[in-house]
């Protein structure tokens, strides 16, 4: 009986110790990501949303610490998901008031990752909760699932290569919730080529995916604020 009581009394202490351990890990990852003050990257963006037919776009991605991120298609038209700001890991790593809970380990793209669930405590944060999958050896976020208060859930899958030392991915896959595509009736007067009826049922409540493959990063060379306006 005594043993059980001691064990029960020790549980919160063990929990706190584990919480501190994941906070330490997050701090180490943040230190690594903080090496980058700003960057300009070029890449190819592929949009895979059920109701959008879009060509592969050449995009420029601008980032400035702590939370400025802009994706621009400089030679064409692209519909860029608003959740793409979450490509910037500082949105989660930069939180100061949060609760972190260990969630075990999981393999992401063949790499063993620590799963950490993060709950911001401040009401002002746009993030409701986030789950990070961290490669402990390289201190890299391999995957993140971010639930926002207003714009649904975003899932990010990162692949690192040349710029892993800065915590910058070579490829990012952003999966997000899409809303039903609706137009006022009769506004388009479409030509009926027999495909509309096949498509109609497929369009409801599907996830969208955007894939950015980076070809070049210019790190810490300065990015003017005017880019983000």
């Amino acid at each position: 009986m005594k043993k059980i009581l001691i064990l029960l009394a020790a549980l919160p202490i063990i929990g706190t110790a584990k919480g501190q351990e994941v906070r330490d890990l997050l701090q180490k990852v943040k230190v690594k990501y903080d090496m980058v003050n700003d960057y300009t990257a070029t890449g190819k963006m592929k949009t895979n949303v059920i109701f959008i037919k879009a060509p592969v776009a050449t995009v420029k991605v601008y980032y400035k610490r702590p939370d400025k991120l802009k994706i621009k298609n400089e030679s064409g038209v692209s519909f860029i998901p608003k959740g793409s700001v979450n490509v910037n890991m500082n949105n989660v790593l930069g939180l100061s008031n949060y609760e972190a809970i260990p969630g075990g380990t999981e393999k992401i793209s063949g790499t063993d990752c620590r799963v950490i669930k993060i709950f911001p405590l401040s009401d002002e944060e746009s993030i409701a909760r986030a789950t990070l999958y961290i490669d402990e050896k390289q201190l890299l976020v391999m995957k993140s699932v971010i639930s926002t208060k207003e714009n649904g859930t975003y899932e990010l899958l990162m692949a690192y290569k040349k710029f892993a030392t800065y915590g910058l991915p070579d490829k990012v896959e952003l999966t997000f919730n899409t809303k039903d595509y609706k137009l006022p009736k009769g506004i388009t007067v479409d030509y009926d080529n027999g495909t509309s009826k096949d498509n109609a049922d497929k369009l409801k409540n599907k996830k969208g995916k955007v894939e950015i493959t980076y070809s070049d990063y210019q790190i810490n060379k300065g990015v003017p604020d005017s880019v983000f306006k």
Binding site: G76, I80, D190, D192, L203
Partner: protein
């Protein structure tokens, strides 16, 4: 002899001031739409993008380019152009009957079939010239005013983004198809024109037929969608839009140079050609037997 007849018919068409009402109307409509989109283009685009503005950054300024404006102009204008075509083609035979020159024409050493064909081809030339005029104002004018960018096409079920270098040939094909569609209207108006001795009847009849079938098409009720619409020429006249619907890969990537279901476009072209042939056949048969009393 046929070409002389055709030249005379073209001379008659372009001698009448009413012919140029259509050209003036097209120019005014195009300029008004361009002006409206220059001032309130963003509001216009928001009509289409409203459901997605929470999820995506909408590049309003880039969407509002010359190609987009031209498609918007064509979308608004091509529904009403049949009226302008009917004004000319509906007057081809009945106008002459009304003026008392039909008997004179029929007395020439040409067959009645040649008369109908010359009048039909003259109407077709008028249609083509009207479309060239439209292309000049709507396409060239819009590119000059708004510049060129990738083209975004909003359909009821999805939206298509076409690279700017893949757009011009689509406009060319769309104008050719529109010419075929409007020629169908010209043939219909000419057919009605052979039945009448005054111009108003054929013009009104043509416009009424177009309105009735357009309304039936827009009702989108199964009883008409399964029976009338697949064979209604107003359904197939919208085929010009089909050149702006693109195909995509499994990853959602637009395929350059592709058309979504080209077979449907071929079918639409054949249906329209069938109607032209049918209307011409009826016109020739009726005109061959017609007692020309005036």
């Amino acid at each position: 002899m046929f070409f002389t007849l055709l030249r005379i018919e073209l001379f008659k068409i372009f001698k009448r001031p009413r012919t140029f009402i259509a050209f003036a109307a097209v120019a005014v409509i195009v300029i008004l739409v361009q002006f409206a989109l220059k001032i309130n283009g963003k509001d216009f685009i928001q009509l289409y993008t409203d459901s997605q503005s929470d999820t995506f950054e909408i590049p309003y300024e880039k969407i509002q380019n010359g190609y987009f404006v031209c498609v918007a102009v064509l979308h608004l204008i091509l529904i009403h152009v049949p009226l302008l075509v009917a004004l000319i083609a509906g007057d081809m035979i009945s106008g002459e009957a009304n003026l008392g020159t039909l008997r004179l024409l029929a007395g020439k050493p040409v067959t009645r079939q040649q008369i109908i064909l010359a009048k039909f081809f003259a109407s077709t030339v008028y249609v083509v010239m009207l479309l060239v005029w439209m292309a000049l104002f709507a396409l060239l004018g819009s590119i000059l005013l708004f510049g060129s960018e990738d083209l975004v096409i909003f359909k009821e079920t999805d939206l298509h983004i076409i690279k700017s270098h893949d757009v011009l040939w689509r406009f060319f094909a769309a104008f050719v198809f529109a010419a075929l569609a409007l020629t169908t209207i010209a043939a219909l108006a000419l057919m009605f024109s052979t039945f009448s001795d005054n111009s108003l009847g054929p013009i009104v009849a043509t416009v009424c037929v177009v309105i009735v079938f357009t309304i039936i098409q827009q009702l989108k009720v199964p009883v008409f969608e399964e029976t009338v619409n697949p064979w209604s020429f107003t359904t197939h006249m919208l085929g010009w839009k089909g050149f702006f619907y693109v195909e995509k890969t499994a990853d959602g990537e637009t395929i350059n140079g592709s058309i979504e279901n080209p077979v449907a476009l071929i079918k639409s072209s054949l249906v329209l050609m069938g109607y032209i042939f049918l209307f011409l056949l009826i016109s020739i048969r009726y005109f061959n037997k017609k007692d020309i009393l005036s």
